[in-house]
C-alpha cells in the first residue's frame, strides 16, 4: 500500500555520491536532454512514457494529462505548445505501449531532483526501465 505510492527515502545521498552524481549527470544530460527533453528529475520513467519526458509538463504530472487540455491537444498553460501527455498518448498507441499508461506512478521524490537517474537505478532507489508490460485490465482493443 504505502510502497506503491512513494519510495521511502532509505538511502540518503551522501557527499561522495553527490560528486559521482555530478559527473554521471553530465554524461546523462548529453544524450537525454536533446533526445527526450529530459528535465533531470532523477526518477526517470521514460520507459513508461514512450520515451518522451513527461516532466516537461508545467504541472510536472506523472500520471497523465490534467483536465485542462485545450482543443487539438494543446497545453492549458502554454496554448501554443502541444500537451506532452497528448504526444505520449499518441506515441504509446503507435508503439503499443498503452498498458504503461494504466499504471499509477509513484509520487515524485523531489530529493532526487538534479541527480543522475542511472545512479539511482544502481543504488536501488528507483526501478529499472521496463521493456514491455502486459495488463489484463487494460482496455486495448484487439487489432
Amino acid at each position: 500500500m504505502q510502497s506503491d505510492l512513494m519510495t521511502k527515502h532509505n538511502k540518503p545521498i551522501g557527499p561522495r555520491e553527490r560528486v559521482v552524481t555530478k559527473w554521471m549527470l553530465i554524461a546523462e544530460d548529453i544524450w537525454k536532454v536533446p533526445m527526450f527533453g529530459c528535465q533531470r528529475c532523477g526518477e526517470c520513467i521514460l520507459s513508461h512514457t514512450a520515451l518522451i519526458c513527461c516532466q516537461r509538463c508545467p504541472k510536472r504530472l506523472r500520471n497523465g494529462p490534467c483536465g485542462g487540455t485545450r482543443d487539438g491537444g494543446y497545453c492549458e498553460v502554454y496554448p501554443e505548445k502541444r500537451c506532452v501527455w497528448f504526444r505520449i498518448y499518441k506515441r504509446s498507441r503507435l508503439l503499443r505501449r498503452m498498458p504503461f499508461l494504466y499504471e499509477i506512478e509513484k509520487i515524485h521524490d523531489w530529493a532526487l531532483e538534479k541527480t543522475a537517474a542511472w545512479l539511482n537505478v544502481f543504488r536501488k532507489r528507483i526501478e529499472w526501465p521496463a521493456l514491455w508490460m502486459k495488463r489484463k485490465d487494460c482496455c486495448e482493443p484487439e487489432r
Binding site: 504505502q2 505510492l5 504530472l61 490534467c66 483536465g67 482496455c139
Partner: protein
C-alpha cells in the same frame, strides 16, 4: 445531488452564511472551491466549517497547486478534526490563470496520487507509512473532464482515480450532450460507472457573455454551438440560462450510469432552489 459554493475574496464569514441559505433544501453536499482559477479566496476548510455550523454537509476541495504533501496531510487532519467528512481531490488550475501569476506553483503530486494518499490516511497511515492514532474519517472523491482530448486518456485517468480509491466523481459542467454521451458510453463499456458514483455537472449561466468567458478563460470547458446560439438569441438570458440548466438535468437523469447531479451556480447561488424545483428534484 451536490452543489458548489464559491467563497468570497475577503475575510467575510457572513458572505458564506448568506450563500449557504440557498442550499438548505434538496442538496446532499455542498462543495467549497479551493481558490478556483488561482484567484485568492477564503480557504475551503474555513468556509466548510462555517457552513457546517449552518447545518449543511460540506465537501472541501483540495488542490495540488498550492500545497506540498506535508501541508496537505496536515490540512486533511485539521478538516477531519473540524467535522468535515468529504474531500474532492484536484490537480488544480495553473497559477497563471489567476490574479497572482507570480506565485510558485507547487504541484508536489497530482490528483490521482492525492486520492491514493487521502485514502491511505483514511485507512490509518501517513504517506510515510507511520500509523495515525486517530485517522481522518474522509470520503474521497475526484473530478473528471469528459470534454478534453484525447477521450481515451480521460477514461484511463478516470480508471486510475477509481483504482486509487475515489468513491465519487464530479464532472465538469455539461454544455455538449453529444460529447458527454460519447464519454458515458466509454465509461459504461469499461464498467467504471459501477465502481464509483458519477455526478454530472450542470451550470446555469446568466448571460451569453458569461458563457463566452467560460469558453475562453476557464480550462476544460466545451460548449455546443446550439447553446451559445440560444443564449445569444434569448430575449431574457437569465431565464434561458435556467431553462437550459433544467433541460440538461432532465436529460442527465435518464442517462444510465449517472448517480446524481453536481450543480455549479457560479456567482448565482440564489438560483439553486428554482432550478431544483423546476427539474423536480425537490417537491415544494
Amino acid at each position: 445531488m451536490t452543489a458548489e459554493l464559491g467563497p468570497p475574496q475577503s475575510a467575510n464569514g457572513d458572505a458564506v452564511r448568506k450563500k449557504a441559505v440557498h442550499f438548505r433544501k434538496g442538496v446532499d453536499g455542498v462543495n467549497i472551491t479551493d481558490s478556483q482559477t488561482a484567484i485568492v479566496r477564503l480557504s475551503s476548510i474555513a468556509a466548510a466549517r462555517i457552513i457546517l455550523e449552518e447545518g449543511l454537509e460540506p465537501v472541501i476541495q483540495m488542490t495540488c497547486r498550492d500545497r506540498n504533501r506535508i501541508a496537505i496531510q496536515s490540512d486533511l487532519l485539521g478538516a477531519a478534526a473540524l467535522g468535515i467528512r468529504n474531500v474532492l481531490c484536484l490537480t488544480g488550475d495553473y497559477t497563471t490563470f489567476g490574479n497572482q501569476p507570480e506565485a510558485r506553483p507547487v504541484f508536489d503530486m497530482d490528483a490521482i496520487q492525492l486520492i491514493a494518499m487521502s485514502r491511505q490516511m483514511a485507512d490509518g497511515y501517513f504517506l510515510s507509512g507511520d500509523p495515525i492514532k486517530t485517522p481522518p474519517d474522509l470520503l474521497v472523491g475526484g473530478a473528471a473532464n469528459p470534454f478534453a482530448e484525447p477521450m481515451e486518456m480521460r477514461w484511463i485517468r478516470l480508471k486510475k482515480k477509481i483504482d486509487a480509491g475515489a468513491a465519487f466523481i464530479q464532472t465538469q459542467p455539461v454544455f455538449d450532450m453529444d460529447v458527454f454521451n460519447k464519454w458515458m458510453e466509454g465509461v459504461r463499456e469499461r464498467g467504471l460507472h459501477e465502481q464509483t458514483a458519477i455526478l454530472a455537472g450542470v451550470m446555469p449561466v446568466k448571460s451569453a457573455r458569461a458563457l463566452e468567458y467560460m469558453k475562453e478563460e476557464v480550462p476544460g470547458i466545451r460548449i455546443a454551438p446550439e447553446i451559445m446560439q440560444r443564449m445569444a438569441d434569448a430575449a431574457d438570458p437569465m431565464e434561458e440560462g435556467i431553462r437550459i440548466a433544467v433541460e440538461t438535468i432532465q436529460t442527465l437523469r435518464s442517462c444510465e450510469g449517472i448517480r446524481g447531479i453536481h450543480l455549479m451556480p457560479l456567482l448565482w447561488e440564489s438560483v439553486t432552489p428554482r432550478v431544483l424545483r423546476e427539474s423536480t428534484l425537490i417537491k415544494d
